[in-house]
Assembly symmetry: C2
Homo-oligomer: 214 residues x 2
């Protein structure tokens, strides 16, 4: 298809597509002559992914380029390619390791991972932003006087683990590796708002079931 | 306790406490003489809550006042008092009801609520920001060519429902109504980062279990 059709089908303006091409977020089309290039379904899919990251996920252009670089590098292990989007999202600041609450939170989270038997997650703690986020959140609770300990966290972690199994099952249902990796990225960017909204709706439902509207 | 002790025990400076008092976020202490007031454990708890909302949740002062107004109004139904924090959080913009993707997303989410039998949540759809957020997120998926339909959403919703049951069970373990409502608010502000981090950690764990690090 030509640029005009790519624009039509993706809903992205030709000016924006040209910008993405210049920035290297979209591979060049097949040049037919000096002024015309031809694009295919893969361009369309990549364009949708880029738009999702930039417009819905508000991921900066440089980060998008970085994520796509990981996604397209098939010399990397799959776990790392799939994790690229997660690691490119806005992250919490590094916790202050001298802070007593941060230190206590580390102990608590490590205890949790042991209890759960999450051996792989344990191997990743030095590089994982998810681990860091959890430590920061648990430390924030402690700082205002609440202990959110391993016993309280474990049942939540088990439910989140079942959620992650669903995520990966849904991803594996896609026929091609390119689509699977794309779905994983979209999952991180768009899925989290879906789950958060479902969780809040479920809280409304259960609160009203228990206490009614009186 | 005096102001200095309240500051010491809460870790909030006396200048900030005075600011919260002026802004009506903290009830006045019991006046002992013209220059000295006495504060109690309830002041300390309320102060921690205010600090959690402002410093961790980044809730604007006017919103904090609004949430506390709902929390303290015992003429309101419990479901509404507990929901006050949820409704005071930053919300997604109103969806554009003329947009075809938004209309399709409404149909899909309504179908989901029917399938799940969430009758209470259905009653709240005209006022619920959670419902609106879900519609906006589902519409965003549709706009880039992904159908995130009721069948795909239902198993996630069931897990989130079980998470909400845990939330309310944990809340009900607190002895006083004041603490329960405080926990519900903290739950919204601090719990969501905890659950999101646990979910991401679970994704790392499951991805590595399935695909290893090779």
């Amino acid at each position: 298809m030509r640029l005009a059709e790519l624009s039509e089908r993706s809903g992205v303006s030709t000016a924006t597509i040209k910008y993405y091409l210049r920035e290297g977020l979209l591979p060049a089309g097949r040049q037919i002559n000096a002024t015309t290039a031809e694009y295919d379904e893969e361009h369309l899919r990549r364009l949708r992914l880029v738009r999702a990251m930039i417009q819905v996920g508000r991921v900066p252009v440089a980060k998008v380029r970085d994520v796509l670089g990981h996604v397209d590098d098939d010399s990397l292990p799959r776990t790392i390619r799939l994790g690229a989007a997660l690691w490119a999202l806005p992250q919490v600041p590094e916790p202050d390791e001298d802070d007593e609450y941060v230190q206590a939170a580390h102990l608590e989270v490590d205890k949790l991972l042991d209890q759960l038997g999450w051996e792989n997650a344990k191997q990743l703690i030095t590089i994982s932003p998810a681990y860091r986020s959890l430590v920061v959140a648990v430390a924030a609770f402690r700082r205002i006087g609440y202990t959110f300990g391993a016993e309280l966290l474990a049942p939540y972690a088990e439910l989140m683990y079942r959620t992650a199994v669903l995520d990966l099952d849904n991803m594996e249902a896609y026929p091609s590796e390119a689509e699977r990796i794309e779905f994983a990225i979209l999952g991180v960017i768009l899925n989290e708002p879906v789950k958060q909204a479902l969780h809040r709706l479920a809280q409304e439902e259960e609160t009203a079931r228990r206490y009614g509207f009186e």
